[in-house]
């Protein structure tokens, strides 16, 4: 029943808002919540409980308990007691088979008790095992509360914003507001956040106030994520003041879950905020002054207060509530009192969770029967009732005896006092175990209303005192958070070369290669392979890592880092280098070109550029050589022009001498191509005459266009894979893994042990002495079966290695590949490879399949 207008009410009676509840139109005022509007319209049953489907009504009106959960505009599990009304909102009840008034699943309450005690799912629905799909279907339908509607598809935008505060005050009650004002007197940068939608009190000068903003956790480094619905504010605060207050606690007695039994906060808000008379005849039972204060509110609202019990004066010996779908009467010490509203309060428990998350200790105060935070870490303060200040309350009985009705410890999960007895009998003798077994505190309220009562009850039943029992671990989030908010925007970092759009325009099938996008091919990988073998192709290799290493100690530095020799590399020449870890494992490979006495140009694999740069920088942080390491990976684009006609194409675009004598195999030369200064490296990954051009990336499209116009056919990663495999070129990370070493990978010639120390030297020496346990070899498949990458090598029925790469080479007319096999295999030996579950024969081939002498490369 709506009361006449009163000062301070939250509703604006001039603005009507209409929404739909279960197909009925409901009229409300701006400032109402969906819950208050439904209550004003006469609704008392708001939900059905999780397990027993018992009728439940408004209990807290502060968004803590589960009793008002409904589905709003397709979003399940919305607490309607705090959800502001919206014009045209579609509100539906949930978790019922039938209606809120007549829920068929309430049968579990009447007869299910013996079949659904605590932990019943550990004992039932196990056999017969083949009936599990049936059990699962049943359980999925009855478990949970709300249901996600795939049609409703809420497309909500979530953003993350980084904020800084000198002082962050969490909680906008009286203490929080005072602390914020005090802090603001000391300068700017004071922010106050509160989870409710409107704050009482006057405007706070010099304080930035964020409402509907819930601090969901406290993390190290003064990090406080604040959930403001569509924005997650990631606050870094120098000082954090916790003023989160305390949470009203229920009393435990038979029938304590009936609609009509409310906490003082609910009665207060219904009357003061929404001007609603909460009931006709009320009983008030409280352990503290704040609970009893509500009597005055009730009387001013026209409710007849028929009985007031102040537990501070005298405790009760028994208490119970009776009713069917709503409260009808309470029995106080056996005496029946008819009523439709009971305001009960078991005192207030400090909301210490954020403090506990950041390392505060939590201790039991026996005098007031609550847990309070102590020993706060630096940078964190607590004020107000969260510290226990101002809480003057009598400790109620853990549970009051009464009739045979169910006494609920946890209304979220329907855990009763009897469930606790059973858990203790079954040996769950610590609060952490009891929590996990009974699931108390694991429901929507997350312990706000049941953690303290459950500890008190546990203490009573086991005889262990509360201080010794302690609390369970407090974890974020403090309130429910939408998954989308934690996910934020779903743009993921992607690296594009300066030729990316040329590839797309040419029909390139772009694929992920690590963090890069690269073309798999341009639609006809076989034709691209043929172009490289027969005329000329061009591939974008801009993704290669590129480092300039220069300085007086550059050669020394590289000598000490690589197993190779570099001190004797002549200016203008290139050498293939393999980087090893100090454990002698292959880490990366690339080419090293000497551009001058003190200048080297190092390339790395595409996925290794950052790691190699870090590696170089780290070793030099230790050795402190006079050398500069400059990462030019993105600054330089690179293309590889390869094929018998590569020289012709290049010669038409440059004045430099690119004859075989002028620019020989493994030469490095700076020259201009199509007006673009380049570093030309004559190397051969794909087995044909080839030139790798490195140049400033803004010139890439220009140079590419000229090369393509000159006859070079673009080719992608797939043809490159085939071509390199024909030459048995190893790809680090594809054909090697984190255990491979140079000896086993077939590159013993790289290691120059005559040198002084280098990274991995000791390990390589040991590998040489101890022998290898596997070796990387080339192989062919006589019957042309194509093994998958990773296919097992099988010897005498046991796994004995794996295939790392395999392709059908059109040029060679055979399937070729690389595989790890045992060391005894030699040229021409056979081994078995599992292809599609059948073992097929493979033959070892140690020399490159195509052009083994490398004539084409050197032509």
């Amino acid at each position: 029943m709506r009361l006449p207008p009163q000062p301070g009410e939250a509703i604006d009676r001039a603005e009507e808002v209409v929404f739909v509840f279960n197909e009925t139109r409901v009229s409300a005022f701006r400032g109402d919540t969906i819950g208050s509007a439904l209550y004003a319209a006469g609704r008392r049953v708001f939900s059905r409980s999780f397990k027993y489907h018992r009728p439940r009504g408004l209990l807290c009106c502060t968004g803590h308990c589960p009793n008002c959960l409904m589905t709003v505009d397709g979003v399940p599990n919305v607490r309607v007691c705090t959800e502001p009304v919206r014009q045209g909102a579609i509100v539906k009840s949930q978790n019922v088979l039938g209606s809120l008034e007549f829920d068929a699943l309430a049968i579990t309450d009447r007869i299910g008790g013996p079949f659904t005690p605590v932990g019943f799912y550990y004992r039932t629905m196990i056999r017969p095992r083949r009936a599990w799909p049936l059990y699962e279907k049943f359980l999925r339908n009855v478990a949970g509360l709300g249901r996600i509607d795939p049609e409703a598809a809420t497309h909500r935008r979530y953003d993350v914003e980084h904020r800084r505060a000198r002082v962050l005050v969490i909680g906008g009650g009286r203490s929080g507001r005072e602390a914020a004002l005090t802090a603001a007197a000391g300068g700017p940068g004071v922010v106050l956040v509160d989870e409710t939608s409107r704050l009482a009190g006057e405007k706070l000068e010099g304080v930035e106030v964020l409402t509907s903003a819930r601090a969901i956790g406290l993390y190290e480094g003064g990090l406080v994520p604040v959930d403001a619905g569509g924005v997650l504010y990631r606050f870094r605060a120098e000082r954090i003041v916790i003023a989160t207050g305390s949470v009203e606690q229920p009393l435990l007695f038979p029938g304590n879950d009936l609609p009509g039994i409310v906490l003082p906060s609910a009665a207060r808000r219904l009357i003061r905020d929404w001007s609603i008379r909460p009931g006709r005849r009320a009983v008030v039972i409280a352990t503290d002054g704040r609970g009893l204060d509500v009597v005055a509110d009730l009387e001013s609202a026209g409710t007849e207060v028929v009985r007031v019990v102040d537990l501070r004066e005298r405790d009760l010996s028994s208490l119970e509530a009776e009713g069917r779908k709503g409260l009808r009467r309470v029995r106080v010490d056996g005496e029946a009192v008819d009523c439709d509203l009971a305001v009960v309060s078991g005192g207030r428990q400090p909301a210490y969770s954020l403090l506990a998350q950041i390392g505060a200790r939590v201790e039991y105060d026996a005098g007031r029967g609550v847990f309070v935070p102590t020993s706060l870490p630096a940078g964190v303060e607590a004020i107000g009732s969260v510290t226990g200040a101002g809480l003057a309350q009598r400790v109620p009985k853990p549970a009051y005896a009464g009739g045979k009705g169910k006494c609920f410890v946890c209304v979220c999960e329907d855990v009763t006092g009897k469930d606790f007895d059973r858990a203790i009998r079954e040996g769950f003798d610590s609060i952490e175990l009891a929590k996990r077994y009974t699931t108390v505190t694991m429901g929507p309220c997350q312990g706000k209303l049941c953690h303290l009562p459950s500890i008190r009850l546990y203490a009573q039943k086991t005889g262990v005192d509360e201080a010794a029992i302690g609390t369970t671990t407090a974890r974020p989030p403090w309130g429910p958070v939408e998954m989308g908010l934690l996910a934020g925007r779903h743009l993921e970092p992607v690296k594009r070369t300066s030729l990316h759009f040329r590839h797309e325009e040419a029909g390139g099938q772009m694929m992920w290669a690590g963090a890069w996008k690269r073309p798999h091919s341009y639609g006809d990988a076989a034709a691209e392979v043929r172009a490289v073998h027969e005329s000329v192709g061009v591939i974008d290799v801009s993704t290669l890592g590129k480092l300039i290493v220069e300085g007086p100690d550059a050669a020394t530095f590289l000598e000490r880092l690589y197993p190779n020799r570099f001190a004797d590399l002549r200016v203008g020449r290139i050498r293939y280098g393999v980087l090893t870890t100090d454990g002698g494992r292959i880490m990366d490979d690339g080419t090293i070109a000497r551009l001058s006495d003190e200048r080297f140009y190092v390339t790395t694999t595409s996925s290794g550029s950052e790691a190699v740069n870090e590696w170089f920088e780290w070793w030099n942080a230790i050795w402190r050589y006079d050398v500069e390491i400059v990462n030019v990976t993105g600054a330089l684009a690179a293309v590889n022009v390869a094929g018998p006609q590569a020289r012709d194409v290049l010669a038409r675009l440059t004045d430099a001498d690119v004859s075989n004598a002028g620019l020989s195999y493994l030469d490095a030369r700076e020259l201009a191509v199509a007006g673009v200064p380049c570093l030309a490296l004559r190397i051969g990954f794909v087995g044909e005459l080839g030139y790798e051009l490195h140049f400033a990336s803004p010139a890439a499209e220009h140079l590419w266009d000229r090369l393509v116009a000159g006859g070079a056919r673009p080719f992608g990663l797939e043809p490159q894979r085939v071509l390199r495999l024909e030459k048995q070129h190893v790809i680090v990370g594809q054909d090697t893994d984190s255990e491979s070493n140079l000896i086993s990978a077939g590159m013993p010639w790289i290691v120059k042990l005559e040198k002084d120390d280098f990274v991995g030297r000791g390990a390589v020496e040991l590998a040489r002495e101890r022998g290898i346990r596997e070796q990387l070899v080339g192989f062919t498949m006589p019957d042309n079966a194509l093994p998958a990458e990773g296919a097992q090598v099988v010897v005498a029925g046991r796994p004995a290695g794996r295939v790392t790469s395999a392709r059908l080479s059109e040029r060679l007319g055979r399937v070729v590949g690389l595989a790890w096999v045992s060391p005894e295999h030699g040229e021409g030996d056979e081994f078995q490879v599992r292809v599609d579950g059948i073992e097929r024969t493979a033959k070892v081939a140690l020399a490159p399949f195509y052009d083994p002498s490398g004539e084409k490369l050197r032509s």
Partner: protein, 157 residues
């Protein structure tokens, strides 16, 4: 050809049309500026149109309003190594304090600074005279970062 000419876009012949990494995305592109990395002895002052961003006591970026060619030659010396990294960066101009705070957790009061933008891309941020932000990121990430900026602008519209 003088040293490391292949790094510098301004060394290309006049007929070479240079393309920005942000050419295909609608943000305020600052393509045409120069970026030099200086190592060793850092200059105590710079010319008009130049901004020095100190990263460490012996490493800095020099951002030039136009071509870096003059600064490149001027600053090369016995104690200072100069690397033309102009081609390595995408540069965009971004406006708005809220947008900035959603793009990066760098402190807007402590610029210029090197730090992550757009979920983990290491960049360098400076503040222009008019109060807008100049964001330098590795050019391979340029298009992605620009898309993030456009998305954030949409969210704030």
């Amino acid at each position: 050809m003088t040293e490391l000419a292949f790094l510098s876009p301004d060394r290309c012949a006049p007929e070479v049309k240079l393309a920005s990494p942000l050419a295909r995305v609608a943000v305020r592109d600052l393509f045409g500026i120069g970026v030099l990395e200086l190592r060793g002895e850092l200059p105590s002052s710079v010319e008009a149109g130049e901004e020095l961003v100190r990263l460490t006591p012996d490493r800095a970026l020099l951002v030039t309003a136009g071509s870096p060619a003059v600064a490149r030659e001027r600053l090369r010396g016995p104690g200072t190594r100069v690397y033309d990294l102009t081609a390595g960066f995408a540069a965009l101009e971004v406006e708005g304090e809220t947008l900035f705070r959603r793009l990066t957790d760098l402190d807007p009061a402590k610029l210029p600074a090197a730090g992550p933008v757009a979920r983990g891309v290491g960049g360098v941020v400076t503040r222009t005279a008019s109060g807008t932000f100049c964001i330098l990121v590795p050019q391979e990430y340029g298009h992605y970062v620009a898309e993030v900026v456009l998305d954030l602008q949409q969210g704030l519209a």
